[in-house]
Protein backbone atom coordinates (compact mmCIF):
# COMPACT_ATOMS: atom_id res chain seq x y z
CA UNK A 1 0.00 0.00 0.00
CA UNK A 2 1.17 3.49 -0.73
CA UNK A 3 -0.80 6.51 0.42
CA UNK A 4 1.69 9.05 -0.95
CA UNK A 5 0.63 11.25 -3.82
CA UNK A 6 3.07 11.80 -6.66
CA UNK A 7 4.62 15.19 -7.24
CA UNK A 8 2.44 15.66 -10.34
CA UNK A 9 -0.74 14.79 -8.45
CA UNK A 10 0.11 17.33 -5.76
CA UNK A 11 0.95 19.94 -8.38
CA UNK A 12 -2.43 19.44 -10.09
CA UNK A 13 -4.26 19.65 -6.76
CA UNK A 14 -2.44 22.89 -5.94
CA UNK A 15 -3.04 24.30 -9.43
CA UNK A 16 -6.78 23.60 -9.05
CA UNK A 17 -6.77 25.14 -5.59
CA UNK A 18 -4.92 28.26 -6.73
CA UNK A 19 -7.25 28.64 -9.68
CA UNK A 20 -10.38 28.23 -7.57
CA UNK A 21 -9.31 30.74 -4.94
CA UNK A 22 -8.07 33.30 -7.43
CA UNK A 23 -10.60 33.00 -10.25
CA UNK A 24 -13.76 31.33 -8.94
CA UNK A 25 -14.18 32.66 -5.42
CA UNK A 26 -14.36 36.41 -6.17
CA UNK A 27 -17.60 36.30 -8.17
CA UNK A 28 -19.19 33.09 -6.92
CA UNK A 29 -21.90 34.82 -4.88
CA UNK A 30 -23.02 36.91 -7.85
CA UNK A 31 -22.92 33.97 -10.26
CA UNK A 32 -24.93 31.90 -7.78
CA UNK A 33 -27.51 34.63 -7.19
CA UNK A 34 -27.99 35.49 -10.88
CA UNK A 35 -27.36 32.06 -12.45
CA UNK A 36 -24.41 33.36 -14.47
CA UNK A 37 -22.43 30.73 -16.38
CA UNK A 38 -18.68 30.91 -15.55
CA UNK A 39 -17.70 31.61 -19.14
CA UNK A 40 -14.41 33.38 -18.41
CA UNK A 41 -13.34 30.74 -15.90
CA UNK A 42 -14.26 27.84 -18.18
CA UNK A 43 -12.09 29.37 -20.89
CA UNK A 44 -9.18 29.70 -18.45
CA UNK A 45 -9.63 26.13 -17.18
CA UNK A 46 -9.58 25.00 -20.79
CA UNK A 47 -6.31 26.85 -21.42
CA UNK A 48 -4.83 25.19 -18.33
CA UNK A 49 -5.84 21.79 -19.71
CA UNK A 50 -8.49 20.81 -17.14
CA UNK A 51 -10.94 19.83 -19.88
CA UNK A 52 -8.51 17.30 -21.27
CA UNK A 53 -6.97 16.23 -18.02
CA UNK A 54 -7.28 12.46 -18.57
CA UNK A 55 -7.43 12.39 -22.37
CA UNK A 56 -4.49 10.70 -24.06
CA UNK A 57 -1.86 13.24 -25.20
CA UNK A 58 -2.13 11.90 -28.77
CA UNK A 59 -5.60 13.49 -28.87
CA UNK A 60 -4.41 16.69 -27.21
CA UNK A 61 -5.05 15.80 -23.58
CA UNK A 62 -2.94 15.89 -20.44
CA UNK A 63 -2.83 12.11 -20.01
CA UNK A 64 -3.18 12.37 -16.22
CA UNK A 65 -4.57 9.60 -14.05
CA UNK A 66 -7.93 9.41 -12.28
CA UNK A 67 -6.34 10.27 -8.94
CA UNK A 68 -5.12 13.61 -10.32
CA UNK A 69 -8.58 14.18 -11.74
CA UNK A 70 -10.46 13.61 -8.49
CA UNK A 71 -7.97 15.75 -6.56
CA UNK A 72 -8.55 18.60 -9.03
CA UNK A 73 -12.34 18.21 -8.93
CA UNK A 74 -12.36 18.23 -5.14
CA UNK A 75 -10.36 21.46 -5.00
CA UNK A 76 -12.58 23.20 -7.55
CA UNK A 77 -15.75 21.99 -5.77
CA UNK A 78 -14.54 23.30 -2.41
CA UNK A 79 -15.00 26.77 -3.82
CA UNK A 80 -17.44 26.37 -6.72
CA UNK A 81 -19.40 23.15 -7.18
CA UNK A 82 -21.14 24.48 -10.31
CA UNK A 83 -17.86 24.78 -12.19
CA UNK A 84 -16.87 21.37 -10.84
CA UNK A 85 -19.96 19.74 -12.33
CA UNK A 86 -19.22 21.24 -15.75
CA UNK A 87 -15.78 19.61 -15.52
CA UNK A 88 -17.14 16.35 -14.15
CA UNK A 89 -19.74 15.79 -16.87
CA UNK A 90 -17.29 16.78 -19.58
CA UNK A 91 -14.42 14.59 -18.38
CA UNK A 92 -16.05 11.59 -16.70
CA UNK A 93 -18.85 11.09 -19.18
CA UNK A 94 -18.43 12.74 -22.58
CA UNK A 95 -14.64 12.62 -23.04
CA UNK A 96 -14.18 9.30 -21.24
CA UNK A 97 -17.07 7.73 -23.15
CA UNK A 98 -15.67 8.65 -26.56
CA UNK A 99 -12.09 7.80 -25.64
CA UNK A 100 -12.87 4.37 -24.20
CA UNK A 101 -15.81 3.21 -26.31
CA UNK A 102 -15.52 5.25 -29.51
CA UNK A 103 -13.96 4.17 -32.80
CA UNK A 104 -10.55 5.53 -33.80
CA UNK A 105 -12.28 7.85 -36.27
CA UNK A 106 -14.59 9.16 -33.56
CA UNK A 107 -11.66 9.72 -31.22
CA UNK A 108 -9.70 11.64 -33.83
CA UNK A 109 -12.71 13.65 -34.85
CA UNK A 110 -14.08 14.60 -31.42
CA UNK A 111 -11.43 14.28 -28.71
CA UNK A 112 -9.11 17.15 -29.71
CA UNK A 113 -11.89 19.74 -29.43
CA UNK A 114 -12.99 18.26 -26.10
CA UNK A 115 -9.40 18.19 -24.79
CA UNK A 116 -8.86 21.83 -25.68
CA UNK A 117 -12.18 22.84 -24.15
CA UNK A 118 -13.28 24.31 -27.48
CA UNK A 119 -16.31 22.07 -27.05
CA UNK A 120 -17.77 21.31 -23.64
CA UNK A 121 -19.34 17.91 -23.22
CA UNK A 122 -22.87 17.09 -22.06
CA UNK A 123 -24.52 13.74 -21.32
CA UNK A 124 -28.18 13.25 -22.20
CA UNK A 125 -29.71 10.29 -20.41
CA UNK A 126 -32.49 11.51 -18.07
CA UNK A 127 -35.95 12.15 -19.44
CA UNK A 128 -39.09 13.67 -17.96
CA UNK A 129 -40.23 10.15 -17.08
CA UNK A 130 -36.92 8.29 -17.00
CA UNK A 131 -34.53 9.26 -14.21
CA UNK A 132 -33.47 6.40 -11.99
CA UNK A 133 -35.47 4.12 -14.29
CA UNK A 134 -33.14 4.78 -17.18
CA UNK A 135 -34.39 1.78 -19.17
CA UNK A 136 -37.68 3.59 -19.89
CA UNK A 137 -36.21 5.76 -22.64
CA UNK A 138 -38.91 7.49 -24.67
CA UNK A 139 -36.54 9.38 -26.95
CA UNK A 140 -36.51 7.50 -30.22
CA UNK A 141 -33.57 7.06 -32.57
CA UNK A 142 -35.08 5.65 -35.72
CA UNK A 143 -32.69 3.81 -38.02
CA UNK A 144 -33.02 5.43 -41.47
CA UNK A 145 -30.21 3.62 -43.21
CA UNK A 146 -27.26 5.99 -43.25
CA UNK A 147 -28.53 8.14 -40.40
CA UNK A 148 -30.70 8.02 -37.27
CA UNK A 149 -33.71 10.29 -36.85
CA UNK A 150 -34.03 11.50 -33.25
CA UNK A 151 -37.25 12.61 -31.60
CA UNK A 152 -37.88 13.15 -27.90
CA UNK A 153 -36.97 15.19 -24.83
CA UNK A 154 -34.10 14.98 -22.37
CA UNK A 155 -34.17 16.55 -18.93
CA UNK A 156 -31.75 18.07 -16.41
CA UNK A 157 -28.93 18.40 -18.92
CA UNK A 158 -25.80 20.04 -17.51
CA UNK A 159 -24.03 22.27 -20.08
CA UNK A 160 -26.95 21.83 -22.47
CA UNK A 161 -26.52 25.35 -23.82
CA UNK A 162 -22.79 26.01 -23.51
CA UNK A 163 -21.86 22.43 -24.26
CA UNK A 164 -20.83 21.87 -27.85
CA UNK A 165 -20.97 18.11 -27.92
CA UNK A 166 -23.65 15.81 -26.61
CA UNK A 167 -23.62 12.13 -25.86
CA UNK A 168 -27.25 11.15 -26.36
CA UNK A 169 -28.91 7.98 -25.15
CA UNK A 170 -32.03 7.01 -27.11
CA UNK A 171 -34.20 4.01 -27.92
CA UNK A 172 -33.93 2.39 -31.36
CA UNK A 173 -35.86 -0.87 -30.76
CA UNK A 174 -38.51 -0.29 -28.08
CA UNK A 175 -39.52 -3.95 -28.18
CA UNK A 176 -36.00 -4.96 -27.10
CA UNK A 177 -36.28 -2.66 -24.06
CA UNK A 178 -32.87 -1.74 -22.66
CA UNK A 179 -31.12 -3.91 -25.24
CA UNK A 180 -32.54 -1.68 -27.96
CA UNK A 181 -30.97 1.50 -26.62
CA UNK A 182 -28.16 3.28 -28.48
CA UNK A 183 -25.68 6.04 -27.68
CA UNK A 184 -24.80 8.80 -30.16
CA UNK A 185 -22.38 11.67 -30.46
CA UNK A 186 -24.47 14.70 -31.40
CA UNK A 187 -23.41 18.22 -32.30
CA UNK A 188 -25.27 20.67 -30.09
CA UNK A 189 -25.97 22.89 -33.12
CA UNK A 190 -27.66 20.18 -35.17
CA UNK A 191 -30.89 21.39 -36.81
CA UNK A 192 -33.94 20.37 -34.80
CA UNK A 193 -32.44 20.77 -31.32
CA UNK A 194 -34.18 23.29 -29.07
CA UNK A 195 -33.64 24.03 -25.41
CA UNK A 196 -36.10 24.61 -22.63
CA UNK A 197 -35.53 27.57 -20.30
CA UNK A 198 -32.63 27.59 -17.86
CA UNK A 199 -33.73 25.60 -14.83
CA UNK A 200 -33.99 27.76 -11.71
CA UNK A 201 -32.20 25.37 -9.39
CA UNK A 202 -31.60 25.17 -5.65
CA UNK A 203 -27.82 24.95 -6.09
CA UNK A 204 -25.21 24.68 -8.85
CA UNK A 205 -26.91 27.79 -10.11
CA UNK A 206 -24.11 28.98 -12.33
CA UNK A 207 -23.98 25.76 -14.34
CA UNK A 208 -26.50 25.77 -17.17
CA UNK A 209 -29.17 23.13 -16.97
CA UNK A 210 -31.95 22.75 -19.51
CA UNK A 211 -34.27 20.25 -21.02
CA UNK A 212 -33.32 19.47 -24.63
CA UNK A 213 -35.94 18.78 -27.29
CA UNK A 214 -35.10 16.78 -30.42
CA UNK A 215 -37.38 17.19 -33.42
CA UNK A 216 -36.37 15.13 -36.47
CA UNK A 217 -32.69 15.57 -35.68
CA UNK A 218 -30.49 13.65 -38.10
CA UNK A 219 -27.44 11.96 -36.64
CA UNK A 220 -24.99 10.26 -39.01
CA UNK A 221 -24.69 6.54 -38.53
CA UNK A 222 -20.95 6.83 -37.86
CA UNK A 223 -21.77 8.81 -34.72
CA UNK A 224 -23.27 5.80 -32.96
CA UNK A 225 -21.05 4.56 -30.14
CA UNK A 226 -20.41 0.82 -30.14
CA UNK A 227 -22.51 -1.98 -31.60
CA UNK A 228 -26.21 -1.59 -32.28
CA UNK A 229 -27.96 -1.80 -28.90
CA UNK A 230 -24.87 -1.00 -26.80
CA UNK A 231 -26.31 2.27 -25.47
CA UNK A 232 -27.70 1.19 -22.12
CA UNK A 233 -24.69 -0.87 -21.18
CA UNK A 234 -22.49 2.04 -22.31
CA UNK A 235 -24.43 4.52 -20.15
CA UNK A 236 -24.15 2.28 -17.09
CA UNK A 237 -20.41 1.82 -17.60
CA UNK A 238 -19.96 5.58 -17.93
CA UNK A 239 -21.96 6.24 -14.80
CA UNK A 240 -19.74 3.86 -12.82
CA UNK A 241 -16.87 6.24 -13.56
CA UNK A 242 -19.02 9.34 -13.37
CA UNK A 243 -19.88 8.45 -9.78
CA UNK A 244 -16.24 8.81 -8.78
CA UNK A 245 -16.26 12.34 -10.14
CA UNK A 246 -19.51 13.25 -8.39
CA UNK A 247 -18.24 11.70 -5.16
CA UNK A 248 -15.14 13.89 -5.47
CA UNK A 249 -17.33 16.89 -6.12
CA UNK A 250 -19.46 16.04 -3.07
CA UNK A 251 -16.45 15.66 -0.79
CA UNK A 252 -15.08 18.91 -2.18
CA UNK A 253 -18.30 20.73 -1.26
CA UNK A 254 -18.15 19.11 2.19
CA UNK A 255 -14.46 19.97 2.60
CA UNK A 256 -15.11 23.58 1.66
CA UNK A 257 -17.88 23.81 4.26
CA UNK A 258 -15.74 22.09 6.86
CA UNK A 259 -12.81 24.47 6.32
CA UNK A 260 -15.13 27.44 6.79
CA UNK A 261 -16.77 25.92 9.88
CA UNK A 262 -13.41 25.08 11.47
CA UNK A 263 -12.11 28.60 10.89
CA UNK A 264 -15.29 30.20 12.16
CA UNK A 265 -15.35 28.02 15.28
CA UNK A 266 -11.89 29.26 16.22
CA UNK A 267 -12.89 32.91 15.83
CA UNK A 268 -16.45 33.13 17.10
CA UNK A 269 -16.80 33.46 20.86
CA UNK A 270 -19.73 32.43 23.02
CA UNK A 271 -19.92 32.13 26.80
CA UNK A 272 -16.46 33.65 27.15
CA UNK A 273 -14.50 31.37 24.82
CA UNK A 274 -14.11 30.43 21.18
CA UNK A 275 -16.97 28.09 20.26
CA UNK A 276 -14.56 25.31 19.20
CA UNK A 277 -13.79 24.95 22.92
CA UNK A 278 -17.38 23.88 23.54
CA UNK A 279 -17.72 20.14 23.23
CA UNK A 280 -20.97 20.48 21.30
CA UNK A 281 -19.04 22.17 18.49
CA UNK A 282 -15.78 20.23 18.88
CA UNK A 283 -17.56 16.88 18.49
CA UNK A 284 -19.37 18.12 15.41
CA UNK A 285 -15.98 19.04 13.90
CA UNK A 286 -14.62 15.60 14.79
CA UNK A 287 -17.58 13.84 13.17
CA UNK A 288 -17.26 15.97 10.05
CA UNK A 289 -13.52 15.29 9.79
CA UNK A 290 -14.01 11.52 10.06
CA UNK A 291 -16.61 11.56 7.30
CA UNK A 292 -14.36 13.63 5.08
CA UNK A 293 -11.45 11.27 5.61
CA UNK A 294 -13.60 8.21 4.93
CA UNK A 295 -15.08 9.77 1.84
CA UNK A 296 -11.70 10.80 0.43
CA UNK A 297 -10.29 7.33 1.00
CA UNK A 298 -13.24 5.71 -0.77
CA UNK A 299 -12.82 8.05 -3.74
CA UNK A 300 -9.08 7.51 -3.96
CA UNK A 301 -9.53 3.75 -3.81
CA UNK A 302 -12.00 3.94 -6.71
CA UNK A 303 -9.69 6.16 -8.71
CA UNK A 304 -6.81 3.80 -8.03
CA UNK A 305 -8.86 0.75 -9.08
CA UNK A 306 -9.88 2.54 -12.27
CA UNK A 307 -6.28 3.50 -13.06
CA UNK A 308 -5.21 -0.11 -12.49
CA UNK A 309 -7.86 -1.35 -14.91
CA UNK A 310 -9.62 -3.28 -12.14
CA UNK A 311 -13.41 -3.40 -11.59
CA UNK A 312 -14.72 -0.48 -9.50
CA UNK A 313 -18.47 -0.56 -10.00
CA UNK A 314 -19.27 -1.57 -6.40
CA UNK A 315 -16.73 0.81 -4.88
CA UNK A 316 -17.87 3.76 -6.98
CA UNK A 317 -21.47 3.19 -5.89
CA UNK A 318 -20.27 3.12 -2.28
CA UNK A 319 -18.22 6.28 -2.77
CA UNK A 320 -21.05 8.15 -4.47
CA UNK A 321 -23.62 7.19 -1.83
CA UNK A 322 -21.33 7.83 1.13
CA UNK A 323 -19.87 11.09 -0.15
CA UNK A 324 -23.21 12.47 -1.32
CA UNK A 325 -24.93 11.70 1.97
CA UNK A 326 -21.92 12.89 3.99
CA UNK A 327 -21.75 16.12 2.03
CA UNK A 328 -25.35 16.84 2.98
CA UNK A 329 -24.65 16.08 6.65
CA UNK A 330 -21.37 17.98 6.79
CA UNK A 331 -22.70 21.09 5.06
CA UNK A 332 -25.78 21.10 7.30
CA UNK A 333 -23.54 20.97 10.37
CA UNK A 334 -21.33 23.70 8.92
CA UNK A 335 -24.39 25.94 8.72
CA UNK A 336 -25.31 24.95 12.29
CA UNK A 337 -21.82 25.85 13.57
CA UNK A 338 -22.13 29.24 11.89
CA UNK A 339 -25.52 29.82 13.57
CA UNK A 340 -27.38 32.80 12.12
CA UNK A 341 -24.38 33.77 9.98
CA UNK A 342 -24.55 30.39 8.32
CA UNK A 343 -28.03 31.20 7.09
CA UNK A 344 -26.91 34.26 5.12
CA UNK A 345 -25.25 34.06 1.73
CA UNK A 346 -22.14 36.06 2.57
CA UNK A 347 -20.71 33.19 4.63
CA UNK A 348 -20.91 30.66 1.77
CA UNK A 349 -21.97 27.64 3.85
CA UNK A 350 -25.66 27.98 2.98
CA UNK A 351 -24.70 27.83 -0.71
CA UNK A 352 -22.53 24.77 -0.11
CA UNK A 353 -25.46 23.15 1.71
CA UNK A 354 -27.74 23.86 -1.26
CA UNK A 355 -25.13 22.47 -3.62
CA UNK A 356 -24.56 19.32 -1.60
CA UNK A 357 -28.17 18.23 -2.01
CA UNK A 358 -27.93 17.37 -5.68
CA UNK A 359 -24.95 15.06 -5.12
CA UNK A 360 -27.47 12.71 -3.49
CA UNK A 361 -29.62 12.90 -6.60
CA UNK A 362 -27.78 13.18 -9.91
CA UNK A 363 -25.77 10.46 -11.64
CA UNK A 364 -27.72 7.94 -9.57
CA UNK A 365 -29.55 8.81 -6.36
CA UNK A 366 -28.26 7.53 -3.03
CA UNK A 367 -31.07 4.99 -3.14
CA UNK A 368 -29.99 3.73 -6.56
CA UNK A 369 -26.43 3.38 -5.23
CA UNK A 370 -27.80 1.22 -2.40
CA UNK A 371 -29.52 -0.96 -4.98
CA UNK A 372 -26.22 -1.34 -6.86
CA UNK A 373 -24.34 -2.11 -3.64
CA UNK A 374 -26.86 -4.54 -2.21
CA UNK A 375 -27.44 -6.38 -5.49
CA UNK A 376 -23.70 -6.85 -5.87
CA UNK A 377 -23.49 -8.20 -2.32
CA UNK A 378 -26.42 -10.54 -2.83
CA UNK A 379 -25.47 -11.67 -6.32
CA UNK A 380 -23.85 -14.98 -5.32
Amino acid sequence: MNFEFTEEQLMIKQAARDFAVRELLPDILERDAKCIYPERQVKMLAELGFFGIMIDPQYGGGGMDSISYVLALEEIAKIDAATAVILAVHNSLTAYGIEHYGTEDQKQKFLPSLASGEKIGAFLLSEPEAGSDATSQKTIAEDKGDYYLINGTKNWITSADHGGLYILIAQTYPEKKHKGINAFIVDRNSPGITLGPHEDKMGMRSSDTHSVMFTDVKVPKENRIGEDGFGFSFAMKLLDGGRIGIAAQAIGIAGGAFDLALKYSKERKAFGTEICNHQAIAFKLADMAVKLENGRNLILKCAWLKDQGKPYSLESAMAKQYCGDSAMEITTEAVQIHGGYGYVKEYHVERLMREAKVTQIYEGTSEIQKIVISRTLLKD
Partner: protein, 249 residues
Protein backbone atom coordinates in the same frame (compact mmCIF):
# COMPACT_ATOMS: atom_id res chain seq x y z
CA UNK B 1 19.16 36.25 -25.32
CA UNK B 2 18.77 34.14 -22.23
CA UNK B 3 17.01 34.95 -18.97
CA UNK B 4 17.97 33.43 -15.63
CA UNK B 5 15.40 33.63 -12.84
CA UNK B 6 16.73 33.09 -9.32
CA UNK B 7 14.29 31.19 -7.16
CA UNK B 8 14.23 30.50 -3.46
CA UNK B 9 12.53 27.48 -1.95
CA UNK B 10 10.58 28.88 0.99
CA UNK B 11 7.90 27.68 3.44
CA UNK B 12 4.37 28.22 2.18
CA UNK B 13 3.30 31.66 3.38
CA UNK B 14 0.53 30.16 5.52
CA UNK B 15 2.98 27.90 7.41
CA UNK B 16 2.96 28.11 11.17
CA UNK B 17 6.63 28.86 11.85
CA UNK B 18 8.41 26.86 14.56
CA UNK B 19 12.09 26.59 15.52
CA UNK B 20 14.14 23.82 17.09
CA UNK B 21 14.52 23.63 20.87
CA UNK B 22 17.59 25.91 20.80
CA UNK B 23 15.77 28.46 18.65
CA UNK B 24 18.59 28.33 16.11
CA UNK B 25 17.06 26.54 13.18
CA UNK B 26 13.68 26.40 11.45
CA UNK B 27 11.75 23.25 12.31
CA UNK B 28 10.90 21.96 8.85
CA UNK B 29 8.55 19.20 10.00
CA UNK B 30 5.26 19.45 8.14
CA UNK B 31 6.38 22.50 6.18
CA UNK B 32 5.10 22.75 2.63
CA UNK B 33 7.67 24.36 0.34
CA UNK B 34 6.87 26.77 -2.44
CA UNK B 35 8.63 29.07 -4.90
CA UNK B 36 9.42 32.35 -3.15
CA UNK B 37 6.38 34.48 -4.16
CA UNK B 38 8.45 37.38 -5.56
CA UNK B 39 10.59 34.96 -7.57
CA UNK B 40 7.40 33.36 -8.90
CA UNK B 41 6.30 36.79 -10.14
CA UNK B 42 9.73 37.25 -11.76
CA UNK B 43 9.42 33.88 -13.47
CA UNK B 44 5.92 34.67 -14.73
CA UNK B 45 7.07 37.98 -16.21
CA UNK B 46 10.17 36.35 -17.72
CA UNK B 47 7.96 33.82 -19.50
CA UNK B 48 5.60 36.53 -20.73
CA UNK B 49 8.58 38.49 -22.09
CA UNK B 50 9.92 35.40 -23.82
CA UNK B 51 6.53 34.72 -25.43
CA UNK B 52 6.26 38.31 -26.64
CA UNK B 53 9.87 38.58 -27.85
CA UNK B 54 9.30 36.94 -31.21
CA UNK B 55 12.08 34.46 -30.59
CA UNK B 56 14.63 37.01 -29.38
CA UNK B 57 14.55 35.49 -25.91
CA UNK B 58 15.53 31.93 -26.63
CA UNK B 59 15.10 30.50 -23.17
CA UNK B 60 14.18 31.12 -19.56
CA UNK B 61 16.11 29.14 -16.96
CA UNK B 62 15.70 29.01 -13.20
CA UNK B 63 18.39 28.56 -10.58
CA UNK B 64 18.10 27.45 -6.99
CA UNK B 65 20.75 27.05 -4.34
CA UNK B 66 19.55 24.09 -2.32
CA UNK B 67 19.75 20.41 -1.59
CA UNK B 68 17.87 17.70 -3.50
CA UNK B 69 14.74 18.23 -1.39
CA UNK B 70 14.24 21.53 -3.25
CA UNK B 71 13.66 19.72 -6.53
CA UNK B 72 9.86 19.43 -6.28
CA UNK B 73 9.75 23.23 -6.05
CA UNK B 74 12.17 23.52 -8.98
CA UNK B 75 9.96 21.18 -10.99
CA UNK B 76 7.00 23.42 -10.25
CA UNK B 77 8.95 26.24 -11.93
CA UNK B 78 9.56 23.92 -14.89
CA UNK B 79 5.85 23.05 -14.95
CA UNK B 80 5.00 26.75 -14.98
CA UNK B 81 7.12 27.07 -18.11
CA UNK B 82 10.86 27.49 -17.42
CA UNK B 83 12.88 25.68 -20.08
CA UNK B 84 15.51 24.22 -17.77
CA UNK B 85 16.94 24.56 -14.29
CA UNK B 86 20.18 24.77 -12.38
CA UNK B 87 20.60 23.61 -8.81
CA UNK B 88 23.77 24.29 -6.87
CA UNK B 89 23.87 21.48 -4.36
CA UNK B 90 24.34 23.36 -1.08
CA UNK B 91 22.43 24.69 1.91
CA UNK B 92 21.53 28.30 1.18
CA UNK B 93 23.24 29.69 4.29
CA UNK B 94 23.15 33.44 3.67
CA UNK B 95 22.64 35.98 0.88
CA UNK B 96 26.36 36.39 0.21
CA UNK B 97 26.82 32.66 -0.25
CA UNK B 98 23.74 32.38 -2.46
CA UNK B 99 24.74 35.34 -4.65
CA UNK B 100 28.28 33.96 -5.07
CA UNK B 101 26.91 30.60 -6.25
CA UNK B 102 24.41 32.13 -8.69
CA UNK B 103 27.16 34.40 -10.08
CA UNK B 104 29.29 31.39 -10.97
CA UNK B 105 26.51 29.78 -13.00
CA UNK B 106 25.37 33.07 -14.57
CA UNK B 107 28.93 33.78 -15.73
CA UNK B 108 29.62 30.28 -17.01
CA UNK B 109 26.33 30.11 -18.91
CA UNK B 110 26.42 33.74 -20.16
CA UNK B 111 22.92 34.82 -19.17
CA UNK B 112 21.92 38.22 -20.49
CA UNK B 113 19.11 39.09 -18.12
CA UNK B 114 18.97 37.92 -14.54
CA UNK B 115 15.76 38.40 -12.62
CA UNK B 116 15.16 37.83 -8.96
CA UNK B 117 12.48 38.69 -6.45
CA UNK B 118 13.07 41.70 -4.22
CA UNK B 119 13.36 39.51 -1.14
CA UNK B 120 12.58 36.04 0.12
CA UNK B 121 9.42 35.53 2.12
CA UNK B 122 11.27 33.60 4.83
CA UNK B 123 14.43 35.54 5.77
CA UNK B 124 13.61 38.87 4.06
CA UNK B 125 17.27 39.75 3.49
CA UNK B 126 16.55 41.58 0.22
CA UNK B 127 20.25 41.33 -0.59
CA UNK B 128 20.87 38.58 -3.16
CA UNK B 129 20.06 40.66 -6.25
CA UNK B 130 22.41 43.54 -5.43
CA UNK B 131 25.21 41.24 -4.29
CA UNK B 132 24.83 39.15 -7.44
CA UNK B 133 25.16 42.24 -9.63
CA UNK B 134 28.32 43.19 -7.76
CA UNK B 135 29.82 39.72 -8.17
CA UNK B 136 29.11 39.89 -11.90
CA UNK B 137 29.95 43.58 -12.27
CA UNK B 138 26.57 44.06 -13.98
CA UNK B 139 24.23 47.00 -13.47
CA UNK B 140 21.32 46.22 -11.19
CA UNK B 141 17.90 47.83 -11.12
CA UNK B 142 15.97 47.45 -7.90
CA UNK B 143 12.27 47.60 -7.05
CA UNK B 144 11.26 46.92 -10.67
CA UNK B 145 7.49 46.86 -11.03
CA UNK B 146 7.26 46.91 -14.82
CA UNK B 147 9.47 45.22 -17.40
CA UNK B 148 8.96 45.82 -21.13
CA UNK B 149 11.21 44.05 -23.60
CA UNK B 150 10.27 46.26 -26.61
CA UNK B 151 12.12 44.20 -29.17
CA UNK B 152 15.33 44.48 -27.16
CA UNK B 153 15.03 48.17 -26.15
CA UNK B 154 14.37 47.25 -22.56
CA UNK B 155 12.37 49.66 -20.44
CA UNK B 156 11.93 49.18 -16.71
CA UNK B 157 9.78 51.06 -14.22
CA UNK B 158 10.92 51.40 -10.60
CA UNK B 159 8.72 52.31 -7.70
CA UNK B 160 10.06 55.45 -6.02
CA UNK B 161 8.63 57.70 -3.34
CA UNK B 162 5.44 59.18 -4.72
CA UNK B 163 5.69 57.77 -8.23
CA UNK B 164 7.53 55.67 -10.76
CA UNK B 165 10.84 56.10 -12.51
CA UNK B 166 11.26 54.78 -16.06
CA UNK B 167 14.72 53.75 -17.12
CA UNK B 168 16.28 51.93 -20.02
CA UNK B 169 19.02 49.41 -19.53
CA UNK B 170 21.18 47.25 -21.77
CA UNK B 171 21.90 43.60 -21.18
CA UNK B 172 23.57 42.13 -19.29
CA UNK B 173 21.92 43.33 -16.09
CA UNK B 174 20.13 42.18 -12.95
CA UNK B 175 16.48 43.15 -12.43
CA UNK B 176 15.28 42.93 -8.85
CA UNK B 177 11.51 42.76 -9.15
CA UNK B 178 8.59 43.37 -6.87
CA UNK B 179 4.81 43.28 -6.91
CA UNK B 180 3.25 44.76 -10.02
CA UNK B 181 5.74 43.08 -12.37
CA UNK B 182 2.88 40.83 -13.48
CA UNK B 183 -0.76 40.53 -12.54
CA UNK B 184 -0.68 37.07 -10.99
CA UNK B 185 1.84 34.24 -10.79
CA UNK B 186 1.19 31.73 -13.54
CA UNK B 187 -0.67 28.53 -12.65
CA UNK B 188 0.97 25.48 -14.23
CA UNK B 189 -1.07 23.91 -17.04
CA UNK B 190 -1.59 20.14 -17.36
CA UNK B 191 0.82 20.01 -20.29
CA UNK B 192 3.46 21.87 -18.29
CA UNK B 193 3.05 19.52 -15.33
CA UNK B 194 3.36 16.56 -17.66
CA UNK B 195 6.50 17.99 -19.30
CA UNK B 196 8.25 19.07 -16.08
CA UNK B 197 9.99 15.77 -15.49
CA UNK B 198 11.40 15.73 -19.00
CA UNK B 199 13.14 19.10 -18.58
CA UNK B 200 16.74 19.04 -17.35
CA UNK B 201 17.85 20.11 -13.89
CA UNK B 202 21.62 20.58 -14.03
CA UNK B 203 23.13 19.97 -10.61
CA UNK B 204 26.54 21.46 -9.79
CA UNK B 205 28.72 21.58 -6.69
CA UNK B 206 29.09 24.89 -4.90
CA UNK B 207 32.21 26.99 -5.25
CA UNK B 208 34.10 27.60 -1.98
CA UNK B 209 32.58 30.69 -0.43
CA UNK B 210 32.33 31.78 3.17
CA UNK B 211 29.02 32.61 4.71
CA UNK B 212 29.22 36.01 6.32
CA UNK B 213 26.25 35.69 8.64
CA UNK B 214 25.62 33.33 11.49
CA UNK B 215 22.20 33.46 13.07
CA UNK B 216 22.57 33.44 16.85
CA UNK B 217 18.95 32.91 17.71
CA UNK B 218 15.43 33.33 16.39
CA UNK B 219 12.50 34.75 18.34
CA UNK B 220 8.86 34.26 17.56
CA UNK B 221 6.69 37.37 17.62
CA UNK B 222 5.00 38.04 20.95
CA UNK B 223 1.43 36.85 20.68
CA UNK B 224 -1.20 39.54 20.74
CA UNK B 225 -2.48 40.46 24.19
CA UNK B 226 -6.14 39.95 24.87
CA UNK B 227 -8.35 42.90 24.05
CA UNK B 228 -10.09 44.60 26.97
CA UNK B 229 -13.48 46.12 26.35
CA UNK B 230 -14.34 49.28 28.22
CA UNK B 231 -17.83 50.72 28.38
CA UNK B 232 -18.09 53.86 26.21
CA UNK B 233 -19.32 55.92 29.17
CA UNK B 234 -16.59 54.76 31.54
CA UNK B 235 -13.72 57.08 30.52
CA UNK B 236 -12.23 56.95 34.02
CA UNK B 237 -11.70 53.22 33.65
CA UNK B 238 -10.14 53.74 30.20
CA UNK B 239 -7.66 56.31 31.52
CA UNK B 240 -6.84 54.11 34.50
CA UNK B 241 -6.03 51.17 32.19
CA UNK B 242 -4.03 53.25 29.72
CA UNK B 243 -2.07 54.83 32.58
CA UNK B 244 -1.69 51.97 35.02
CA UNK B 245 -1.60 48.88 32.80
CA UNK B 246 -0.62 49.83 29.25
CA UNK B 247 1.56 52.68 30.59
CA UNK B 248 1.05 54.78 27.51
CA UNK B 249 -0.25 57.86 29.38
Amino acid sequence: MKILVCMGNVPDTTTKIRFDSEMKKLDTNGVQWVINPWDELALTRALEIKEQSGGKIEKVSVINIGKADAEPTIRKALAIGADDAYRVDADPTDSYFIAAQIAEVAKAESFDIIMCGIESSDFNDAAVGSMLAEFLDYPSVSAVSSFEFNDGNISLKRDIDGGKETISVSAPFVAIVQKGICINPRIPAMRGIMMARTKPIKVTDPVATDSLIEALTFDLPVSKAACKMVDADNTDKLIELLHGEAKVL
